[in-house]
């Protein structure tokens, strides 16, 4: 066991002298967080709305004012008639066209349903959905302002992220993604490098045991990956103002378990890869793709085809995402995140056992 310390010490010398690794460890996560935090913004503002107003009455102008008054829409009047609506979309001069009929003022005064038409450019379907929701909301407010009561009312209260801030949504996903990427990448490359340069041959001929090499190799990266997790959380909380409603200690504890799974994954990859190149590619593909596509980070697991849903059960990021979102946004306690945490722990243990078995002390 006393051979573990020298291996750890040596690994730290490598890390200190290898500038590229340092950059990967400390710059990449922050850069990614800033990129995602700023560039990907799911809130849409300044949507150009073209109005074809056949009514031209005080009532119709009221309605238009309701749209112009919101921060989501920029209103432009359009006199070309319905036949040229297609051209408006084609030339990207509008993303939504509102057509107010001639009898708008007359019908709205009577207690019957009044129709206005909204045409939405759905070439970006997510945006179209959002635009429709905004328009609906404005129309509802408009109706309410006129004292028109609907037969019943649905009151929706949005909890945990009432203003739909996208950073709330991205940060937990990013923590999950960055931690698994960094950990799997670093461990697998660190071991593959020794195989590639032949130093593994030199180590293996010593009385050192497989588990001593593995522990010595993994411990430094547990520390580094954990530090990364802390950095990402600090930036998320203090820069992007993402709340941490639950216990910080609980998040850190869960992060440690998750890092352990990720490192075990890297270890497993390194038992298969013999060059740094292969290890790097394998680590990125195995860690990154499932963590983005199949974890519920962007796409809800429930809406995936059955086969993909089954695959998500072995994606560690899925469980960590549940945990982090739960703790940060909902204030979950240990009892509430117990199951996903245990699944992660089990995954890590199984991967470590397989890797240690596969890691031969012969060539």
């Amino acid at each position: 066991m006393n051979r573990i310390i020298p291996i750890i010490r040596k690994e730290f010398i490598h890390i200190r002298r290898d500038f590229r690794t340092l950059i990967i460890i400390f710059i990449m996560p922050v850069a990614q967080l800033l990129m995602f935090g700023y560039a990907i913004n799911m809130e849409i503002q300044n949507i150009t709305l073209a109005v074809i107003d056949h009514s031209e009455s005080p009532a119709s102008r009221d309605l238009i004012r309701a749209f112009a008054g919101s921060k989501f829409f920029t209103v432009r009047h359009f006199d070309g008639g319905e036949s040229r609506v297609g051209a408006l979309f084609q030339n990207r001069q509008a993303r939504i066209v509102l057509i107010i009929p001639q009898d708008f003022a007359a019908t709205i005064a009577r207690p019957v349903a009044t129709k206005v038409q909204a045409l939405i450019d759905a070439s970006d379907s997510n945006a179209a959905q959002a635009i429709r929701n905004y328009a609906d909301a404005i129309l509802q407010t408009y109706n309410a302002g006129r004292g028109l009561a609907a037969p019943f009312e649905v009151q929706t209260t949005i909890q945990y992220n009432p203003t739909f801030k996208s950073t709330y949504f991205f940060v937990p996903g990013l923590v999950a993604l960055i931690l698994i990427m960094i950990s799997a990448l670093l461990t697998s490359v660190a071991i593959a490098r020794e195989k590639e340069t032949g130093t593994m041959e030199q180590i293996l001929v010593s009385p050192v045991r497989a588990r001593e090499i593995i522990i010595g190799k993994v411990v430094p990266y547990i520390l580094l990956a954990f530090m990364d997790g802390v950095i990402v959380l600090l930036v998320a909380h203090f820069w992007f103002k993402v709340p941490i409603i639950g216990s910080v200690a609980l998040i850190l504890g869960a992060a440690l378990v998750y890092v352990f799974v990720a490192l075990a994954l890297g270890l497993f990859i390194s038992t298969l890869a013999h060059t740094q190149q292969v290890a790097m590619m394998a680590a990125l593909i195995i860690s990154m793709l499932p963590s983005i596509m199949l974890s519920g980070f962007f796409f809800p697991v429930a809406s995936m085809p059955k086969v993909l849903q089954w695959i998500t059960y072995v994606v560690p990021a899925k469980y960590f995402l549940l945990i982090v979102r739960g703790i940060m946004l909902k204030g979950n306690t240990l009892a509430q995140i117990g199951t996903p945490l245990l699944v992660l722990l089990g995954m890590g243990i199984i991967l470590t056992i397989i890797s240690t078995k596969k890691f031969k002390t012969t060539l």
Partner: protein
């Protein structure tokens, strides 16, 4: 002398390729033993198996009384092994490399204090101890690698082509160190492609296609040469090769620098020799019988695949 390394009927295949076939060898304690042979002869496979780096599947191997198949940990602690590829940590300094291997082999602090100056002394690396390994010259790298394999004072040293690609001066220096280690009682098994280095060994085994073709004192190994050898001095050695090959029933023709080495099954009579010289299509300055060198012997053995004479 007692045998410290014994190999009986060792065989090894990589898929369909037979790397080593029925190898039997015994190396004496305190001996500097050379393994010589072309690439693919099975030298590295044999060495790696001895070092417990490759599983021993066929045959038996013992090192200092330990079974290779069973006593892996014990063998690894008394053995120093230097692989063919230079494999130290390029981003660690000379001293960091040495200390890392010392720790790996569990060398005590007191032992380290004693051992380090000794290693610095023979390797002359002391002035460079803070230099990164990647900044060392080829010869210094080899000496550092050797020092790292010696840090735990092994009884047996196995070196796989340690001087390949090293300049002649460093090579000589390296072999002086090996001889000194041998004199200190370390048993050394070394493979080399250089015939001049083979001469510095106590005994050499010539391996080819997984078999030992000859095993002897390097100065005596030439007695395994099965023919009579003539050296031909000529301004055009290349042009004379086909002449010797076809015109006369000789055993082999080899170009050695600016000369030809031609061997015949039996010594030529004077008259015959004369006629060979005179009927040559190119001028022959001189043709005389010489004693075969190690290289001639190996070439001939490789060609004829003659089993070693007991």
């Amino acid at each position: 002398m007692s045998e410290i390394i014994t190999i009986q009927n060792f065989g090894k295949s990589y898929g369909k390729i037979r790397a080593v076939e029925g190898l039997t060898l015994a190396i004496n304690s305190g001996e500097l033993f050379g393994l010589i042979g072309p690439d693919g002869a099975g030298k590295t496979t044999t060495m790696r198996t001895l070092c417990t780096l490759l599983p021993l599947e066929e045959g038996q191997m013992q090192l200092a009384g330990f079974e290779v198949r069973r006593d892996v940990a014990a063998i690894r602690s008394i053995l120093g092994y230097m692989p063919q590829r230079f494999s130290l940590y390029p981003d660690l300094s000379v001293e960091q490399n040495l200390l890392f291997f010392a720790d790996l082999f569990g060398v005590s602090a007191a032992e380290k204090k004693k051992r380090l100056p000794q290693l610095y002394h023979f390797s002359k690396l002391e002035p460079f101890k803070n230099r990164l390994a990647k900044q060392l010259s080829g010869g210094m790298k080899q000496k550092l690698a050797l020092s790292c394999t010696l840090i735990h004072t092994p009884k047996i040293l196995i070196l796989d082509e340690p001087t390949t690609g090293v300049d002649p001066v460093s090579r000589r220096e390296f072999w002086q160190i090996l001889q000194q280690l041998r004199d200190d009682g370390v048993t050394i098994l070394v493979s080399t492609p250089y015939m001049d280095e083979a001469l510095l060994c106590n005994r050499v085994a010539f391996m080819h296609k997984g078999k030992v073709l000859a095993l002897d004192d390097p100065r005596l190994i030439t007695k395994h040469f099965p023919h009579t050898l003539y050296e031909v001095a000529t301004p055009a050695p290349q042009l004379l090769v086909p002449y010797f090959k076809t015109a006369h029933a000789c055993e082999s023709v080899q170009i050695f620098g600016d000369r030809l080495h031609v061997s015949f099954a039996a010594p030529l009579a004077d008259a015959m020799l004369k006629s060979v010289v005179q009927s040559a299509p190119q001028p022959v300055i001189e043709m005389r019988q010489i004693a075969p060198g190690i290289e001639d012997t190996f070439m001939a053995l490789m060609k004829n695949r003659i089993s070693p004479q007991p």
